[in-house]
Amino acid sequence: MVWPIAAVVLCWLAPGWNWWFPAGPSGTGAAMSPLGERIDDLFYMILIITTVTFVGTQIGLGYVLFTGARRSDQPEDAEGEKAWFSHGSHNLEVVWSIVPAAVLLFIALYQMEVWAEYRVQDAFPKQVIRTGPLAEVTARQFEWRIRYPGVDAEGNPLELKPDPQPTDLYTVNDLRLPSSQPVMIWLRSEDVQHSFFLPELRVKQDAVPGLVIPVWFEAIKSTEYSMLCAELCGWGHYKMKSRLVATPEDEWRVWLQELQVEQNYDGVSDESNDE
């Protein structure tokens, strides 16, 4: 009578296990930044710990249910096994308080370094601190406006100033930065709160109105990455589709020079040159 029900209960629980395992490989594959790789390592570490815990506790639960079902199958009045009479065990309580506490504390402390490197400015890579920000990304409903410093006569990028300069260059929804080196941007918002999200690089940072937040990352490969908004910003939240194009630094400089030429192009002078 009770057996089939108990069995069915466990069958209901089973999908819980079966569905866990495919969770590992993300659809996006490996992280495309050194920090992202370390984040993934931490993710897998927690995944292993939680999977062990999950399987362990569910097996424990299943075992308890099976034995309990067997016990209640026996007739109650005869020599059938009674339920144990126990109010608990102090030793067990101590064990299962201290062990998880140690594991959790370990997880917490183990994460500190990566977090510090990602977010604490003193721990930013030296190169990033030396070169300063290469672009300023301003989110607005529903696009990303990007401001780059202009280039000087020799074609070298100028320093990006906090306030817009006449020499500045602009793009929309198209962030271009050098690859294979840590780069920093300033993140701002012009209207509501947005969030700057580079899934392949494992970067996410809210753009908070009124704050200028420095964000650094390093793209390993010279290619195009998705860039989107991860904080509800209005009806067009899903539409803030844009891209990060990482190129070798010299290509990036050339692109910046071309951008300047294109932006300073005013048709009139071009025509007069032709004559």
């Binding site: 819980g16 969770a23 569910q58 639960l61 709160q193 704050l211 067009g236």
Partner: protein
């Protein structure tokens, strides 16, 4: 146990002189302004069960759009949207905002504290009613202005569009979104009314539990349900004022041009630049200072009720009663210092990220202790696999999933990536649906006989459980994978982004499961209402449980107990070998046999 039936006609002149108490006594009064805690409990229960369907329908709208973007929705399509049944992005925003609002403020919080808190607290501690019956009635009736405000907000342009978190500047400036106008104001008023309702309840519960326990009901003889309600009431009393204050600040900002949250110089939707020097992060701090404890407000009562159900259906005492109490207290205490984990990517000081990570990791500890104790409670018991037990087991099993997925997000570096993706959506649905709602379903089946003197149908109950369990896991488990795949939440059309395109089939599978789960709830409703009239009649103690509530008639008359009950032992003396008649339960009111009744009356609290 011999049913202690009406010996009380002389002491209570409330007109319940008939020997077979009217089983529909509570139902007959639900339209009245009754101050009887049981009527209020049933009022809350029925209201929230009906609102569960509203919240569920909104969720199905969200699911439809994610599975079949921009396609006309069947059934609800005509009702829902303006453009030929298509869900517009604004409408989608409103759908998920209101789904969360209805489920959190109008279903889960009221069903736990309002319905079960009201119904059970006086019965379980042996009181004749709440300490403040009038306040209690008001706490129910204040739900209605809230429902009216939330309902009205649907009809103003766009509907509330800020998400249930209502982050400014989006929620503060009218131009920011179609729904940031009057709809948002109505929404804020609704939250305020709900807050008033909860606050009246929580003051009442605390006073009642502290002052009105029956003789012998010491603090450590209280059922865990009562402990949970007590701790929840404390949480609410301390956390709610912050939300209410924040809500008023936002209201002032919207209506009187105050600038608490809006910084200067913003150009929103081509409106004039804003003036002032507010800080949007302030709202997030205030909001989560309430809303994180609110998570435990939405969980602890279900934990308590599940503990009671598990002990009864395992015929075993709670494993580690005191650790259970202490861990609930620890959850409540730590619950106040973890709110920052909602803000890891918000741009607050990174040092805070570290602090909140440690405190958040630590709050997993009492939860783990509770899980181990629940398993310990079932260990070696004579398990009764009825609907109540199945739901209670599901609570434990699902809570494990929800708890473990929380560890990922507590780890700040990992949270950088999975923050605001579907991973978090999976996590909190496992906690709020997987744990809390299964606990509530179990509790409905468990205490239904006390409300209406009949039991609910077991067959339908099990079918409802099976469908809900399958649908729930089918809907929410794949969300973890979506989150790992980087799908952000609150996207009306994630497939605009190439790296998310392959997720469409998975989303369709989830939506089918969600529809199954949604329609399975009709079974619950049918079972509930049919059983009120046609359920199998049962005695006062159909589960052979120990709690005080089972010594009162079903349904308990006005005043609950024929005479003031005296409590001789804790609520979990199941299968005690010392039980004189060899029964596997030993009600709290049963005097110990070998000793004379007069001498060892336990110390009053």
């Amino acid at each position: 146990m011999s049913t202690a039936t009406p010996t009380a006609e002389t002491s209570h002149g409330h007109g319940h002189h008939d020997h077979a108490p009217d089983k529909l006594a509570l139902l007959k009064k639900i339209h009245t302004f009754s101050t009887d805690h049981k009527v209020i409990g049933v009022q809350f229960l029925i209201t929230t069960m009906l609102l569960l369907f509203v919240g569920g329908a909104l969720a199905l709208g969200v699911r439809w759009q994610l599975a079949f973007p921009w396609e006309t929705m069947p059934l609800f399509g005509k009702l829902f949207a303006q453009q030929g049944g298509q869900i517009s992005p604004e409408f989608y925003t409103m759908l998920f905002t209101m789904h969360a609002t209805v489920m959190i403020f109008l279903v889960i919080i009221p069903v736990l504290a309002g319905a079960f808190g009201n119904f059970l607290i006086p019965l379980m501690i042996g009181a004749d009613d709440m300490a403040f019956p009038l306040l209690n009635a008001l706490s129910y009736w204040f739900m209605w202005p809230a429902i009216a405000c939330f309902g009205a907000s649907f009809f103003f342009a766009g509907g509330p569009a800020g998400g249930w978190t209502s982050y400014p500047v989006l929620s503060a400036i009218q131009e920011a979104a179609p729904g940031s106008g009057t709809a948002q104001t109505m929404w804020l008023l609704g939250v305020t009314f709900v807050g008033v309702s909860s606050m009246m309840g929580s003051v009442n519960y605390m006073t009642t539990i502290i002052n009105m326990r029956a003789p012998g009901m010491t603090l450590f003889r209280m059922p865990l349900t009562i402990w949970a309600m007590f701790i929840t009431a404390i949480l609410q009393a301390f956390a709610l004022p912050v939300l209410t204050a924040a809500g008023f600040m936002l209201l002032f900002e919207r209506t009187f041009d105050f600038t608490f949250f809006i910084p200067g110089g913003l150009v929103v939707n081509n409106a004039d630049p804003t003036v002032g020097g507010g800080q949007p992060l302030l709202w997030q701090h205030l909001f989560w200072f309430y809303s994180h404890p609110a998570v435990y407000i939405m969980l602890l009562p279900a934990m308590g009720m599940t503990s009671d159900m598990l002990a009864c259906m395992s015929r075993k005492p709670i494993f580690g009663y005191k650790p259970m109490v202490y861990s609930m207290a620890a959850i409540a205490g730590l619950g106040f210092i973890v709110w920052g984990h909602h803000m890891f990517t918000s741009g607050m000081n990174p040092a805070l990220g570290m602090t909140f990570m440690v405190s958040t990791m630590m709050i997993a500890l009492p939860s783990a202790v509770k899980v181990f104790n629940w398993i310990g409670t079932m260990w070696g018991g004579r398990l009764q696999f009825n609907t109540v037990m199945l739901n209670a087991i599901a609570f434990v099993s699902m809570f494990i999933v929800g708890g473990l997925s929380g560890i990922f997000m507590a780890a700040v570096p990992v949270d950088i990536y999975i923050h605001d993706t579907y991973f978090i959506v999976a996590h909190f649905h496992y906690v709020l649906f997987g744990a809390t709602l299964f606990g509530v379903f179990g509790a409905i089946h468990f205490w239904f006989p006390k409300m209406f003197g009949r039991t609910m149908n077991e067959g339908i109950g099990k079918l409802h459980f099976a469908l809900t369990f399958i649908g729930m896991n089918g809907t929410f488990f794949p969300m973890h994978l979506l989150g790992v795949a980087g799908m952000p939440r609150r996207y009306a059309d994630p497939y605009l982004h190439p790296y998310l395109e392959h997720l469409l089939p998975m989303n369709q599978f989830m939506t089918i499961c969600a529809i199954l789960m949604g329609f399975a709830q009709i079974l619950l409703l049918v079972n509930f209402f049919v059983s009120i009239f046609a359920g199998k009649e049962c005695g006062d103690n159909p589960w052979l449980a120990n709690g005080l509530e089972w010594s009162a008639p079903s349904p308990p008359p006005h005043g609950n107990f024929p005479s003031v009950p005296i409590v001789y032992r804790g609520p979990y003396e199941y299968s005690n070998p010392d039980q004189p008649e060899g029964l596997d339960y030993w009600p709290q009111t049963e005097p110990p046999v070998p000793k004379p009744v007069t001498s060892p009356v336990p110390a009053p609290a």
